[in-house]
């Protein structure tokens, strides 16, 4: 499959200014902007990085460039959420979608291991889509914990936090220049572990209509906090309560983003 990806990238580079993908080096692999003339033998697919975030960064820096990105299912879902929030310009981005293997999907507990490219014009899918993997068993186990004990569960987890901000920094859908986690109004500076539960619940609340389940936060966490258990549960609630699935539809605005003109006044609340 890697040969097919490299061939596609070579073909697209004739039309595009550059393509974001992973490049292997002597020391490992990391995101790179491939351009014509680069050695595509160096293009690899592992270890995973949030390439959608790199694409956003480069689109902002090179405002006229037409770029491509080699993206897995979670990368494409992140691109959708970023496009809705004006962090990605879909008209200047061509997606080369790559399906994950069953093993990769199982590792990530990923329900949608194949990228959905219906809404990305000029895009290509490489690889055979595999079925979604079963959800993280810890989520089901957690659901059995009585409410009274859940507080203690999370307190024990979040007390391990070093406050490295890595979960935020690696997150493909976190982009705010002024972050509430660094605002003394919400999170008292200088505390380790950070304020419980404020710090982590602000992050979880901001993830409600964004988290695409890529698990980068959990992989970057030096304290092994099961962050995606929390975000999976939040995502389930959002899907059940308001029918919103992050990353599914580029034309569906997130529920927390609405204008007064769009808002139908149907509430029975008396103000």
């Amino acid at each position: 499959m890697i040969t097919e990806i490299r061939d596609k990238v070579a073909e697209q580079l004739e039309k595009l200014d550059g393509i974001v993908a992973l490049r292997s080096t002597e020391d490992g692999a990391a995101p790179y902007l491939f351009q014509q003339g680069d050695n595509l033998e160096e293009l690899v697919m592992n270890p995973r990085y949030p390439l959608s975030k790199t694409a956003s960064k480069l689109q902002k820096r090179f405002k006229d460039a037409k770029l491509g990105v080699v993206a897995r299912g979670c990368d494409v879902r992140a691109l959708v959420e970023m496009a809705k929030r004006n962090q990605i310009d879909p008209d200047r981005l061509v997606v080369i979608g790559v399906t994950c293997t069953s093993e990769e999907a199982e590792f990530c507990f990923c329900a949608e291991p194949a990228p959905n490219l219906d809404q990305w014009s000029g895009s290509t899918l490489i690889g055979e889509p595999v079925p979604g993997a079963p959800p993280n068993p810890i989520v089901a186990e957690y659901a059995q914990i009585p409410y009274a004990e859940r507080w203690a569960f999370w307190k024990a987890q979040f007390t391990k936090c070093h406050k490295c901000f890595g979960c935020r920094d690696i997150c493909p859908v976190c982009f705010c220049e002024a972050c509430a986690l660094e605002d003394p109004l919400w999170v008292e500076p200088g505390l380790l572990a950070p304020d419980f539960p404020m710090y982590h619940l602000i992050k979880a609340q901001h993830m409600t209509t964004r988290c695409v389940g890529c698990r980068q936060c959990e992989m970057a966490c030096p304290a092994d906090i099961p962050l995606t258990v929390l975000y999976d549960l939040v995502r389930q609630d959002v899907a059940e309560l308001i029918g919103y699935v992050p990353g599914a539809d580029i034309n569906e605005m997130p529920p927390f983003t609405l204008t007064l003109a769009d808002a139908a006044i149907e509430s029975d609340l008396v103000y």
Binding site: G28, P31, R61, C164, A220, P222
Partner: protein, 135 residues
Amino acid sequence: MDYKNIQTICPYCGCGCALNLEVIDGEIVGVLPANDHPVSQGSLCIKGWNAHAFVGHEDRLKKPLIRKNGQLEEVSWNEALKLVAKNLGSIQKKHGADSIGVLTSAKCTNEENYLLQKFARAVIGTNNVDHCARL
């Protein structure tokens, strides 16, 4: 138009975490963890995540400064080192070698840190050597 990552070792402490410096057109703009690295295994602490910040910071000192008549003035390395040597020498003579301590740094190489402890012990004559990464 150029974007690449350069893998290096975090300068802040003795752990030796690897990190990737994100470079756009020759300017370091950010840090990514090194996911396959045996030491850091894709994680970093808050210092590592911000290890790029000082490189191009406007407050970074680029030349030695000596305070003259209450004002800091840029001087040559020769002049700065002469002043440091003269003052260290007079303090050592007046108050003894153990009145001086040497703080080394994780931002230096092993060899530079070796030289500094050698300087403390063999030149100044004190065992007062410490290191920011031990804090």
